[in-house]
């Protein structure tokens, strides 16, 4: 496909902006750029077709099954989109007086209350713009807590299990902590003895993804949080996998002090090809004074903004990705009291169903019933046929299915992590299982074909090494 810049022709393009209706102001020439930016000049019809072509080379949840582990690619209901495009939400300035944005403040307030109930927390901020941003914000709560108790200099370590998302250790470092990684036990949970050895007077806290990235709920969860608390640390719940347990169990009841949730996973807001997401953070009452500024409160039916007394400051401008919050509120109000636990039940059922069907062929390193996702180990298949996790994933593209998360978690070397979500029918799950079973057979019969997969897409496998070794990160006007 041609780039915009290759389609551009001088002088083309629609006239969208009128000539100035007041005297043109002449800025000091010393302030002006020497030449115009080389932006595309295109007729609208060609621009429209350009993006239609690009959309055809993009695979969304609307195109088909998307069992990308730990990403909760559930269907994005259309009514959420309709709500988030209402002019009363889209066309309001963030610095309008509170009395003119009561509906928007109420969106933030109501969403906070609903998600606080779902997670078992007392207070929330909607400011973080993504999951990792939420992790960072949660860690700042922990930091502020130790700081106000005069223990920050001593409590410098965050404990992170080795099955955690890479964002956990990276966020801990951004929040000024150092990371202690602890191993998983043979059942895939936190190694309790290793945890007990790791905690101490230098422990600031623990970050735990639960269910973890193997799709397993840690049966020792209560003892884990107790161990960290007894050492004087706080417990952070990475809610990336909340879809497995919402309405069934709450981080707040398990002893966690703060949590982030991904609205773009659990609460069905679309991911936009990599954002905007939203990563609200909830906490227990004792951490609420440290939350970011611009919280919403209600008094006698009037909503207003306020800054918590010992606020950490802010992690983003204004109030977060507001339109994403609108979508999530629409979703939660739709599902309600019964629909929320139904969703997690459906997610766990679908995952177990796929796991059961595939376990006749593929190796399940953790064979116990899973939660919302499970990990297959392609290692044995590779030893037998030479076909690796990448090959299986790439072949799945030919079946019109988005591959699972590959090579994660790191503790399973040839991992494929499958998360079907609750919004898929049995036929869709069966079709994916059939495809994976066929690929298993192909691996034994014609492994060479799988090394070359995908065979039916507009491009074959791209050369990642070349991209990194000779970076071309923009269109090179002068060489074309």
């Amino acid at each position: 496909m041609k780039l915009l810049f290759e389609e551009s022709r001088p002088g083309r393009g629609e006239c969208l902006i009128p000539v100035c209706d007041v005297p043109e102001y002449a800025l000091d020439p010393a302030c002006l750029r020497s030449s115009a930016p080389r932006l595309p000049e295109m007729a609208e019809v060609d621009l429209d077709r350009h993006y239609t072509a690009l959309s055809k080379e993009t695979y969304g949840v609307n195109c088909g099954f998307y069992p990308l582990g730990s990403c909760t690619m559930k269907y994005n209901p259309r009514v959420n989109e309709a709500a988030s495009s209402l002019p009363g939400f889209v066309q309001i300035h963030p610095l309008q007086p509170a009395e003119t944005v009561q509906g928007a403040l109420r969106v933030l307030y109501d969403t906070e209350k609903l998600i606080a109930e779902i997670t078992g927390m007392d207070a929330m901020t909607m400011q973080p713009a993504a999951g990792a941003h939420g992790e960072y914000t949660g860690l700042l709560l922990i930091r502020k807590y130790h700081e106000t108790r005069g223990e920050l200099a001593q409590r410098t370590k965050i404990i992170v299990p080795d099955s955690a998302h890479g964002t956990n250790p990276a966020s801990a470092v951004m929040a000024g902590f150092s990371v202690v990684s602890i191993p998983s036990n043979p059942e895939g949970g936190v190694d309790l003895q290793a945890l007990k050895n790791a905690v101490g007077p230098d422990t600031a806290g623990l970050m735990l993804t639960n269910p973890n990235t193997l799709g397993l709920f840690d049966p020792n969860i209560l003892e884990i949080t107790k161990t960290v608390h007894e050492a004087g640390g706080l417990c952070y719940y990475d809610g990336a996998n909340l879809n497995a347990v919402m309405g069934q169990a709450r981080p707040g009841d398990m002893g966690f002090d703060c949590v982030h949730v991904n609205l773009h996973k659990t609460f069905s807001t679309p991911h936009g090809g990599g954002g905007p997401g939203s990563g609200p953070v909830g906490c227990k009452a004792f951490l609420a004074p440290f939350l970011p500024s611009s919280r919403v409160r209600e008094e006698n039916g009037k909503y207003s903004l306020f800054d918590p007394e010992q606020t950490m400051g802010r992690v983003r401008s204004f109030y977060g990705n507001f339109l994403v919050v609108v979508r999530a509120l629409t979703y939660i109000l739709t599902l309600g009291r019964k629909g929320i636990p139904e969703a997690s039940e459906g997610a766990v059922l679908n995952a177990n169903y796929m796991m059961k069907r595939l376990s006749e062929y593929y190796t399940m390193p953790y064979p116990q019933p899973c939660m919302h996702e499970f990990v297959m180990d392609i290692g044995p298949l590779k030893a037998e046929t030479g076909v690796n996790a990448m090959d299986v994933a790439k072949r799945l593209l030919d079946f019109g299915i988005h591959p699972p998360t590959m090579y994660f978690p790191l503790i399973v070397h040839e991992a494929l992590m499958i998360e079907p979500t609750e919004t898929e029918s049995q036929e869709t799950l069966d079709a994916a299982c059939d495809a994976l079973i066929q690929i298993w057979k192909e691996a034994h019969e014609q492994p060479e074909m799988l090394h070359a997969a995908p065979l039916t897409k507009t491009i074959t496998r791209p050369d990642d090494v070349l991209a990194a070794r000779k970076p071309i990160l923009k269109y090179l006007f002068d060489e074309n």
């Binding site: 043109e24 993006y51 993009t58 969304g60 300035h93 963030p94 009561q102 713009a129």
Partner: protein, 438 residues
């Protein structure tokens, strides 16, 4: 009502049987009973018709102003129709981060095009695929050159947007990076103060162009002083202004960053917005966030992939340059479509009309007694003006007429005009202000 679950009760019962379970509750038998709950205190679910009405009613409790003279970090500009058409295409809306390049060439190419446009706009060599917003972009930028050993502290101008300042402060404090605010003089960064504050331990100096008060900083002098001390210069810029103004690249800045919202994104009560970041080849490997690069497939065809991932959290974990994972991809695409739709001439007109309307507005308001520009410096499309009455009362009177007036801040009112605030609208505003202060 319902949870978007396609399978019927009967189908679910069959699937349960397949997995060897007798009841749905068994699915959660791994959860310790003490941690299990069986009910949530939530309202009952709603049908689509009901929830549509509820959301419309909430939206209806917000006031949409026909006429907006307020900016201060969020700017109302004309959004071409094609922008919404493109950015509501479902594939773009519902895709995940493009990990699987073979079925994501569309979104990858659009990010590559965005990166190119950001480089053209800023005059820099390398752009990332976006970060959360302009304030976070500034925070990530000032921290890019801190190495904790020789370069351990950073400076930021007092004349940046206060939200940007607070976010940068929050990020620096958590990383234990000392941050000093460079005082301003006449509502612009004071070069002499900068000179005194700089030393060899300073990693970077950040200022905003045009600054929070709309004033054009003496970027050349500020960057010159910064470089003399061996620090890197971070310019936080308004992308619309770059339709006219000298680019960070031309000034010799090391990093350009800013809020991309003015490029086709609606006000949306503060988000989703778009943080853009661009830098030099020298600093390329320190740039946080996703970056798309061009490569070839096994048949030698041009293809795009996420690249330079050795910087990122999923590879480097605690040694990563940042924790960013999701960014604002769809907002980046929005900016890219916007820039392609307006083209170089359209962008120039948007910038020119904005600056001209702002100057016309300033001149007209100055006719009224008690309204005067606080500074006589060159400004872009915002300016600080005194106000003879309580600005809040003035704004209440304007609001009655459907106008969102300038933002009351210390020293007066911060007014803003864009290409949307035409002569008629400005004349009407001035008449209403005259009446209000009489």
């Amino acid at each position: 009502m319902g949870s978007y679950i396609p399978s019927t009760e009967e189908e679910r019962a069959r699937m349960l049987k397949t997995v060897g379970m007798g009841s749905p509750d068994e699915l959660f038998s791994c959860i310790p009973p003490e941690a299990r709950i069986h009910d949530l205190n939530l309202p009952d679910g709603l049908t689509e018709m009901e929830v549509s009405a509820r959301m419309a009613s909430l939206a209806g409790e917000n006031r949409v102003f026909a006429s907006v003279f307020r900016g201060a970090g969020a700017y109302r500009h004309y959004i071409p129709s094609i922008v919404t058409t493109v950015t509501t295409k479902e594939e773009f809306v519902t895709a995940y981060t493009p990990y699987q390049a073979e079925i994501s060439q569309g979104v990858l190419q659009s990010i590559f095009e965005y990166q190119t446009q950001i480089c053209e706009l800023t005059g820099m060599e390398v752009s990332n695929a976006s970060v959360y917003d302009g304030a976070v972009a500034a925070a990530e930028s000032v921290l890019m050159n801190v190495d904790g050993r020789r370069k351990k502290k950073v400076l930021i101008s007092e004349a940046v947007n206060p939200d940007v300042l607070t976010v940068v402060q929050t990020y620096c404090e958590s990383r234990n990076v000392p941050l000093t605010v460079i005082p301003m003089k006449n509502h612009a960064t004071d070069p002499e103060a900068l000179r005194k504050l700089l030393d060899s331990e300073c990693a970077s100096v950040c200022f905003q162009q045009p600054n929070y008060f709309g004033i054009l900083e003496d970027a050349e002098t500020l960057i010159g002083i910064t470089h003399e001390a061996g620090a890197k210069a971070v310019m936080n810029v308004n992308p619309i202004s770059l339709g006219l103004l000298k680019t960070p690249g031309e000034y010799g800045a090391d990093i350009a960053c800013g809020e991309g919202q003015p490029l086709g994104l609606p006000l949306s009560f503060g988000g989703p917005y778009l943080g853009f970041m661009a830098t030099t080849k020298e600093l390329m490997r320190k740039l946080p966030g996703r970056i798309v690069g061009q490569t070839e497939d096994t048949q030698g065809r041009r293809a795009y992939v996420l690249t330079l991932q050795a910087r990122e959290q999923h590879i480097r974990r605690e040694k990563a340059s940042s924790n960013i994972c999701s960014n604002e991809a769809l907002c980046a695409m929005t900016a890219s479509v916007y820039l392609a739709a307006v083209g170089p001439e359209g962008l120039r007109r948007v910038a020119l009309n904005s600056v001209s309307h702002a100057h016309y507005l300033a001149a007209r308001l100055s006719e009224i007694e008690g309204f005067a520009l606080v500074e006589d410096s060159e400004f872009f499309h915002e300016f600080l003006m005194t106000c003879p009455i309580d600005p809040i009362i003035l704004n209440e009177k304007l609001a009655e007429q459907g106008i969102l007036g300038g933002l009351p801040i210390e020293g007066g009112i911060l007014w803003c005009a864009t290409e949307l605030n035409g002569k008629k609208e400005i004349d009407r505003l001035v008449d209403l202000v005259k009446e209000a202060v009489r």
